[in-house]
């Protein structure tokens, strides 16, 4: 036995709750076998989850660090590991290691500011951690706007939490949109980038974007049209990862490793990276 801690060796986690969010997104609640959080994290950080024999993959931690009881992961079914996770039942053990990456600067750059969260589809998962952190420390932040869109009403992740908790908070405005008309939907219809422009936010805010690359691209352009500077806009990135600690060599964009220098980047910092993501 070697006495030294090894970052690649995970601990065991137990799935204590599985919530079906959308037809292809489930949210998994994870604790250690003795009922504690596996580790502490900051909003925006990620963890490696694995089913031995199937594989290991990186996921953003969707629960806020202010949740002292458990961690949550909202996961879209789209590959081997995620398919296996979706087939799990409560009580199943998995492995978990982390936390990985930097975090949103919630206690520094964000402090005292109005916040504008913009998410598309499963892109809400990493933002939920920050949103709930800001809601927990409500007096540290100004007005909070949340623009969230998905393909359909059924594809909105965390819909119950958004409607029953976020939308009821004072000083929090939730703006939901779906891509196409639906009979049971009386809210906004249209793509997120256009909706952001229609809503026309004042530029004295910090904006955080997460969603499909195409959504990020057009929303960023929209925000710039509204007068936002790239230094006010943050996003979180995703590339294939194996180690999570900047050694396996595959998640780099130029000289930056998304797993350790990211996943959170300010949009002006992304401009300095080569166009390969």
């Amino acid at each position: 036995m070697i006495d030294m801690k090894e970052p690649l060796i995970p601990v065991v986690g137990v799935v204590t709750d599985i919530r079906i969010d959308t037809p292809d997104v489930k949210t998994f609640r994870v604790v250690t076998p003795d009922g504690k959080k596996a580790f502490e994290h900051k909003p925006g950080q990620c963890a490696m989850l694995s089913i031995p024999g199937v594989g290991e993959a990186m996921f953003s931690i969707t629960s806020s660090p202010t949740n002292t009881e458990f961690m949550e992961f909202s996961i879209k079914k789209c590959g081997c590991v995620t398919e296996w996770l979706h087939s799990m039942e409560v009580g199943q053990q998995i492995t978990i290691r982390g936390p990985y990456g930097n975090a949103f600067p919630v206690d520094t750059e964000f402090a005292g500011h109005d916040m504008l969260f913009i998410a598309g589809g499963i892109g809400l998962a990493p933002l939920r951690s920050v949103i709930n952190y800001c809601r927990h420390y409500r007096d540290r932040y100004g007005k909070i706007d949340i623009v969230y869109g998905s393909r359909s009403m059924q594809d909105l992740v965390d819909y119950q939490e958004i409607i029953n908790e976020w939308a009821k908070d004072t000083g929090v405005n939730v703006h939901l949109t779906i891509d196409r008309e639906q009979p049971e939907w009386d809210g906004h219809v249209g793509f997120v980038p256009n909706y952001v422009k229609e809503l026309g936010f004042s530029t004295d805010k910090i904006a955080i974007l997460c969603g499909p690359p195409i959504m990020i691209k057009f929303t960023l352009a929209g925000l710039q049209e509204l007068g936002f500077d790239k230094t006010q806009v943050y996003t979180t990135m995703e590339l294939r990862m194996k180690c999570g600690i900047g050694k396996c060599g595959r998640c780099n964009i130029g000289s930056k490793y998304v797993c350790k220098d990211g996943p959170v980047f300010r949009c002006d910092q992304i401009d300095e990276l080569p166009d390969e993501y």
């Binding site: 060796i9 031995p52 009580g91 053990q93 492995t95 060599g249 998640c251 000289s255």
Partner: protein
């Protein structure tokens, strides 16, 4: 400095193997390779081993851990064990330098304990080159083939092996070899260094310069039109990354044995399309992006993150082994216009 007659190498190796398992380069049908020394095995005369020495610290495959699976339960089994002391004899200057390049990856926080375990237990006995060849360009990266680093440095003349300790570890090893070596001055070694320096200066790649590359040069080279022509015939076979002493990308894979799961680490290659492929997309779509990644990493990204140190040591293995004769020298010449 100590010396030993070349016809007494067997005695020397026997004495070294008393200090730890000894590995020496030997000649085989597949070329020179490191093998565990035992009486009768003789030192290869080849300039360098076909494969680099990185296997000693970063093996091609290794078992990282095991898992016991029962119903819904998982048990993580730490399979790490303390490595035995070992000595690598005859490492060339380029390969010694490659350890520093690997150290900066694996020993950076958070430390890779598998790598560190082996590194801590190794003594590096390097060997100055006497006959560098036309594919050598270690000088481009500030490496002196006549004067390598290492715990103990050896210099071979026609009839003698001279040994000099460079570290505390090396001094300890030389103390243990006192009975088979004798004290020597450095006249012969200094003489030989001069001769080798002259040989090195005459190598065809002696003038190759890396000056154009280095830290912070991403925007200078990333969009260079030359990548297209350079990468056009690349087969994506990954041979260059396989033989490279500094290539350290890895994959982690699980193997289900039927009564448990073994998790392995294996060498991987940025030349393969699978390397960055995700269910959500592929950031390096064609061989051009993969080819560019490898050379940008060695010449720009790695130096940017490591105080200007290049991730190439000029060993020349890729020059010999690439099936289409494409290599880092051609890339440097084309992009940097770097023949002085």
């Amino acid at each position: 400095m100590r010396k030993v007659s070349l016809d007494k190498l067997d005695l020397l190796f026997s004495a070294i193997s008393g200090a730890g398992t000894l590995y020496i380069p030997v000649d085989t049908e597949a070329g020179s390779k490191y093998e565990k020394w035992e009486s009768g095995k003789t030192l290869s005369n080849a300039l360098n081993t076909v494969r680099s020495a990185k296997d000693f610290f970063f093996p091609q495959t290794e078992n990282l851990m095991d898992f016991k699976m029962e119903g819904k339960s998982i048990e993580v089994i730490d399979t790490r064990s303390e490595c035995e002391d070992f000595v690598i004899f005859g490492v060339r200057a380029c390969d010694v330098k490659s350890f520093e390049v690997l150290d900066r990856v694996f020993l950076a926080d958070p430390v890779d304990s598998y790598y560190k375990n082996r590194r801590d237990h190794a003594v590096i006995v390097s060997m100055a080159c006497t006959k560098p060849r036309e594919t050598c360009f270690c000088g481009t990266f500030g490496i002196d083939a006549a004067n390598p680093d290492g715990d103990v440095v050896c210099y071979k003349t026609d009839d003698m092996l001279y040994m000099d300790a460079k570290t505390e570890k090396g001094a300890k090893l030389l103390e243990k070899l006192a009975s088979v070596t004798e004290e020597s001055d450095d006249t012969a070694v200094n003489e030989q260094k001069k001769v080798i320096a002259e040989r090195l200066a005459k190598l065809p790649l002696a003038e190759l310069s890396a000056e154009a590359f280095g830290s912070g040069k991403t925007s200078v080279f990333f969009d260079a039109p030359e990548w297209k022509e350079l990468s056009e015939s690349c087969l994506g076979c990954g041979t260059c990354t396989f033989v490279c002493p500094t290539c350290q990308c890895y994959d982690i894979k699980d193997f289900n044995t039927g009564h448990g799961v073994k998790r392995f680490r294996c060498w991987d290659s940025c030349m393969y399309s699978e390397f960055t492929k995700m269910s959500a997309g592929q950031p390096r779509l064609t061989q051009l992006e993969r080819f560019r990644q490898r050379f940008m990493h060695k010449l720009v990204y790695y130096p940017t993150n490591n105080d200007g140190l290049f991730s190439c040591v000029g060993c020349g293995r890729c020059l010999e082994k690439c099936p289409i004769q494409m290599n880092i020298v051609k890339v440097m010449k084309k992009l940097g216009g770097s023949i002085k």
